[in-house]
């Protein structure tokens, strides 16, 4: 069976997990491009705490859960998503950083803007949607 199959209980958990993600982003003011840009200009180091806190929790999950439990609670398997180091990773990340520095917006906060009612950021969301399309159309795989 496809380990990604979306059963109703799994959909519910996914919705709650996404909600925590969106609530956390908003609480941490990462949904405000001005705050992100002030970090990138070395005026406020808060983003380090956000990323550090989130990555710390993620580490606990990715390293701990597969040791403590045989399977995820709703079945399937603990999947991994290995990152690769390639020219594409470097180029893509470099381009992503330029866009992030220019707009103060990254994918999570762009989606969250639909909830915070920040319609200005819909420009960035539209840009991301088109950028992802352009990437897919220009990549052979």
């Amino acid at each position: 069976m496809n380990p990604h199959t979306l059963t109703f209980p799994k959909a519910l958990v996914t919705l709650v997990a996404g909600s925590l993600f969106g609530f956390g982003l908003s609480l941490a003011t990462m949904v405000q491009p001005e705050i992100v840009i002030s970090f990138l200009q070395f005026k406020d180091w808060g983003l380090m705490l956000v990323m550090g806190g989130a990555a710390g929790m993620a580490m606990l999950a990715y390293k701990g859960f597969p040791r403590w439990f045989a399977h995820p609670f709703l079945g399937g398997q603990f999947l991994t998503q290995p990152a690769t180091w390639s020219r594409q990773t470097v180029m893509g990340s470099a381009i992503f950083g330029v866009g992030w520095g220019l707009s103060g917006v990254c994918p999570g906060p762009a989606i969250a803007a639909l909830g915070t009612g920040n319609i200005d950021i819909l420009w960035a969301l539209g840009g991301i949607v088109l950028g992802a399309l352009a990437q897919g159309l220009t990549t052979r795989e």
């Binding site: 709650v16 808060g46 710390g56 399937g76 866009g99 009612g117 840009g127």
Partner: protein
Amino acid sequence: MTLSTLFPLGWQHYLLGGLTIGAGVALLYLFNGWVGGMSSVFSSSWSFVSKRAFFQQARFINTRNWRLVYALGVVLGALAWRFALADGQAQHTSVPVWQLLAGGFLVGYGARLGNGCTSGHGICGLGALQLPSLGAVLTFMGTAFLTANLMNLA
């Protein structure tokens, strides 16, 4: 150097927000076994529309449903924050439209080319102790620092 020079707006909400984001990522893994980066939804959702082989890859087709539900959750979580803690006020930004649009395009193109964004590499990749993700984070932090400071000069 004191806490208030590093964090002029306070530090507690940053840490608490980060831990909450991480709790969402952990919950998705504990119950479903899935790695919840954010930028993939922008490629996987195009598979509903484009028949192009790139978008029809198994990694997008298989995950496109839950990634949309996950994104919907992000919207609901942000909405809950707005009505619980921000008096229901709609937020605004003074970043110029051209920067949002052009920056967004580069964010979408670059995150998908590099297979991850601030959450995919920065939270999930670093959390899984993956060296390539550390390289990706250092790369995008570097170009973002440069860009934001150049914009400040301009």
